[in-house]
C-alpha cells in the first residue's frame, strides 16, 4: 500500500477513535500488529502505555473524558481551542475569546465540506469542526492526492492538538487516549512545523 494510503487509513482510524467506542475501533486497537502499523504509518513512536483496556472500560474512559454528560468533559471541537473569530468588525464581547462553539474554524470547515460536496447525513454528533470530521476530510484529501490542500488543512485545523493532549493529560495521565493523541500530534506536527500559510505554499517553499 502506498504511504499516502497508509496515512489515510491512519487518519480514518483516528476519526473513529474520537467517536464513542464500538466494536470496529476496538478490533483495530486489540489487533497484535496495531502498534507496529500505527508507528509505521505515522512515522513516529508511540509512548509506552497502559495495558489494553476492555471495551467496556474504554467506553467508560471515553465517556468520562469526552462526553458532555460528564463534568469537565474535554471538547473535541476545534473552535473551543481557538479565538472565536478574527473578524475585527464583530461587535461581540467574546469575539476573541476561546472556549466558544461555532468559531471561525467551524465556519471554514462547513464551507469546505459544502463546496467539496461532502454532505453530512444528519448525525447528532455532527459539528463541522469536530476532530473526527477534520480527520475524515484530511483522509479524503490524501486519497485524492491533494497534498497542498491536505497540508493546509492539517496545519490550520489540527494545530490545536497540543491543547487537547494537555487537557487529557490533566484528567488521566495513563489514558490510552492520551498516548494515541500524543502520537497523532507528532504526526500532525510534521506538517504544521513550519506553520504553513498559503503564501508560502505559493512560493513553493513547503518544508
Amino acid at each position: 500500500m502506498p504511504d499516502h494510503m497508509k496515512q489515510r487509513d491512519l487518519l480514518l482510524f483516528y476519526a473513529e477513535l474520537y467517536k464513542p467506542p464500538g466494536d470496529a475501533v476496538y478490533e483495530v486497537i486489540s489487533h497484535p500488529d496495531f502498534r507496529t502499523e500505527l508507528e509505521q504509518a505515522s512515522g513516529a513512536a508511540l509512548n509506552d502505555c497502559c495495558d489494553l483496556p476492555s471495551l467496556s472500560s474504554l467506553k467508560e474512559e471515553f465517556r468520562s473524558l469526552f462526553s458532555s454528560s460528564s463534568q469537565n468533559g474535554i471538547s473535541l471541537i476545534e473552535s473551543f481551542y481557538k479565538p472565536w473569530t478574527t473578524d475585527q468588525t464583530a461587535a461581540l464581547p467574546f469575539a476573541q475569546s476561546k472556549g466558544m462553539m461555532m468559531g471561525d474554524p467551524a465556519w471554514h470547515m462547513r464551507y469546505l465540506l459544502e463546496e467539496i460536496g461532502l454532505n453530512s447525513s444528519y448525525d447528532p454528533m455532527f459539528y463541522p469542526d469536530h476532530i473526527s470530521v477534520i480527520l475524515e476530510l484530511a483522509a479524503f484529501l490524501l486519497e485524492e492526492q491533494e497534498t497542498d490542500k491536505f497540508t493546509l488543512l492539517v496545519s490550520q485545523h489540527l494545530n490545536w492538538l497540543d491543547d487537547l493532549v494537555e487537557a487529557i493529560r490533566k484528567q488521566k495521565k495513563d489514558s490510552l487516549y492520551l498516548k494515541l493523541t500524543e502520537l497523532l500530534n507528532k504526526f500532525v506536527n510534521e506538517f504544521t512545523i513550519c506553520n504553513q500559510s498559503f503564501d508560502r505554499l505559493k512560493e513553493d517553499s513547503v518544508c
Binding site: 479565538p83 478574527t86 461587535a91 464581547p93 467574546f94 476573541q96
Partner: protein, 252 residues
C-alpha cells in the same frame, strides 16, 4: 479643538453596568477587560446616607500626557476630540499607563490580526469610529437614565452647567470635573462630591517633563538611537520623572 464631548452625570447612574457590557460588545473586549470601571461612594451614616455610583473611563484630555510620552507616536488626537491608540503602532511599553494622571490608560493583553496575544495600550476610544460615522458611543446609546450623554462640545458643557444647578440642593459639593491642568477633557463628569472622594485629583496636570520629552528629547533621540533603544531610555526617564507610582483604582 475637537467637536464632541461626553458628560457622565454620576447623580443619574444606577450602577446597572449596561454601559460596560455594551462597550465590551462594541470593542470586542473579553469578559475580563473593560474600558469602564466603577466605584461606589457612600457618604453619611445610616439612615442619612447618600450613595453614588461613579462610572469612570478615559477622559480624553485636550493636552494628553499619554500622547506626549508615547515613544511610538501610537497615540493621537482624533478630529472628534477623542484621544486614540493605534494598536498596530503600539509596542506595549506602558509609558501611557504609568503617566496617565487618571490611571485610565492601560496596557493589556490584546489579540493582533493573526490572533496572537500581545501587550497593547487599551482604553476608551470614545467610539471614535462610530462617532466619525455620525453615531453615538455605545455606552451613551444604551444608557436609559441619561447618566451618559454625548453631543456637541458646547452643548454638553451647557448641559453640565444646567445639571449642576439642578443637583446643587441635594449635593452641595457637586462640581464639574473638567481639569484645566490637562487643557480640559472630552469626557467630563458631573460629580456629586469633591473629586478626591472618587480618587481624582482636583488639580490634575500635564507634567512639564512630559512636554519636554515629547517636544524635544523624543524626536532627537529617535533620530540618533532608533525607536527601540529610545523606548528603553524613555522608560527610565518617564519612570523617574513623572511616574506617580501605583494608581489606586477606585472600586476595583
Amino acid at each position: 479643538m475637537g467637536q464632541y464631548r461626553m458628560l457622565v452625570d454620576v447623580t443619574k447612574c444606577i450602577g446597572c453596568y449596561s454601559c460596560r457590557v455594551a462597550c465590551q460588545m462594541e470593542n470586542d473586549l473579553p469578559p475580563d477587560q473593560s474600558y469602564i470601571s466603577f466605584c461606589e461612594v457612600e457618604k453619611g451614616e445610616y439612615p442619612n446616607v447618600e450613595w453614588v455610583m461613579h462610572r469612570f473611563s478615559c477622559l480624553h484630555c485636550e493636552d494628553a500626557v499619554c500622547e506626549k510620552v508615547c515613544p511610538q507616536n501610537a497615540i493621537s488626537y482624533s478630529q472628534t476630540g477623542a484621544v486614540v491608540v493605534d494598536q498596530e503602532q503600539c509596542i506595549g511599553c506602558e509609558y501611557c499607563e504609568k503617566n496617565c494622571p487618571f490611571g485610565r490608560a492601560k496596557v493589556e493583553l490584546c489579540q493582533d490580526k493573526e490572533g496572537n496575544s500581545v501587550s497593547r495600550a487599551n482604553k476608551c476610544t470614545l467610539c471614535n469610529g462610530k462617532v466619525l460615522e455620525g453615531m453615538t458611543p455605545a455606552c451613551a446609546s444604551t444608557c436609559y437614565t441619561e447618566a451618559i450623554v454625548f453631543g456637541e462640545s458646547d452643548e454638553i458643557l451647557q448641559k453640565a452647567e444646567q445639571r449642576l444647578a439642578e443637583v446643587k440642593d441635594r449635593y452641595p459639593d457637586a462640581n464639574i470635573y473638567n481639569p484645566e491642568g490637562v487643557g480640559g477633557t472630552h469626557t467630563i463628569y458631573l460629580l456629586a462630591h469633591k473629586p478626591e472622594e472618587y480618587d481624582l485629583e482636583s488639580d490634575a496636570t500635564t507634567p512639564a517633563s512630559a512636554i519636554i520629552w515629547k517636544d524635544y528629547a523624543q524626536p532627537l533621540g529617535k533620530l540618533l538611537l532608533g525607536a527601540t533603544t529610545m523606548a528603553v531610555i524613555g522608560g527610565a526617564i518617564s519612570n523617574r520623572l513623572f511616574n506617580k507610582g501605583e494608581h489606586h483604582e477606585g472600586g476595583e
